[in-house]
């Protein structure tokens, strides 16, 4: 029941491209990455049923020449779900654009703050005791 090489290559390319796009900053690219990944996974799901055959319609094909219907049904569900979530993310991209004026996924502000704190701690190694109790305004000034 091994899938064939052609499809394997298609899957490899789709997943690689999808993953690569996913790791970008532009939300639109990420979104396209998700769509591409969705295509890859849907193909994989459908292909998991086995090699090509006749459509599983009792009126036109004999059971033994039919493809496996179950992965098709599952892939159909997956297609719909991917679509639904894509549109949602699209709307989110739009919302982000209209709120922030860009559609990039920038770094988390609070995490950045902790990184700055770490830098500061590194430079002032002596004043450990003071920093043990951080509820002092030094940090607030940095915000």
């Amino acid at each position: 029941m091994t899938i064939n090489l052609t499809i394997a290559v298609v899957i490899a390319v789709l997943y690689s491209v999808g993953f690569y796009l996913l790791m970008q900053r532009s939300l639109m690219r990420i979104l396209l990455g998700i769509v591409v990944l969705g295509h890859g996974s849907n193909l994989l799901l459908q292909i998991a049923g086995g090699p090509p055959g006749r459509a599983p319609m009792l009126t036109t094909a004999r059971p033994e020449e039919m493809t496996d219907p179950l992965p098709q049904a599952m892939a159909l569900t997956a297609i719909v779900i991917t679509f639904a979530l894509t549109t949602f993310l699209l709307a989110l991209a739009y919302r982000s654009w209209s709120l922030l004026g860009h559609d990039e996924v920038r770094d988390d502000v609070e995490d950045r703050r902790i990184q700055r704190l770490e830098k500061r701690m590194e430079t002032h190694e002596d004043s450990e005791a003071d920093e043990a109790d951080r509820d002092e305004p030094a940090e607030e000034a940095a915000r």
Partner: protein, 88 residues
């Protein structure tokens, strides 16, 4: 009769690959829109040939739907281009 289908498929496949080249080369977005539209039409044609090959026409609605879809997708994209790019 088999060879007829094979030749048709081959011709359509070559055509599709040529169109794909246009798709990649652009150069304007409209070119790409047109290319996508043609690709879908070729796909419909190919599917149609396949139906002939399998002697199974129970899913023509599929083709009907495809024929419409390419149209709607392309229209919306071209409308976008029309709006986006500068007017004369």
């Amino acid at each position: 009769m088999m060879w007829v289908f094979a030749v048709s498929f081959a011709l359509l496949a070559v055509a599709a690959l040529l169109v794909l080249v246009r798709m990649l080369r652009g150069k304007t977005t409209l070119d790409r829109i047109v290319a996508v539209d043609v690709l879908v039409t070729l796909l419909v044609a190919g599917t149609c040939v396949g139906m002939g090959l399998q002697q199974d026409g129970s899913n023509i609605a599929l083709l009907a739907a495809f024929a419409l879809l390419a149209f709607i997708g392309s229209i919306s994209a071209s409308k976008l281009v029309e709006k986006k790019e500068p007017y004369r």
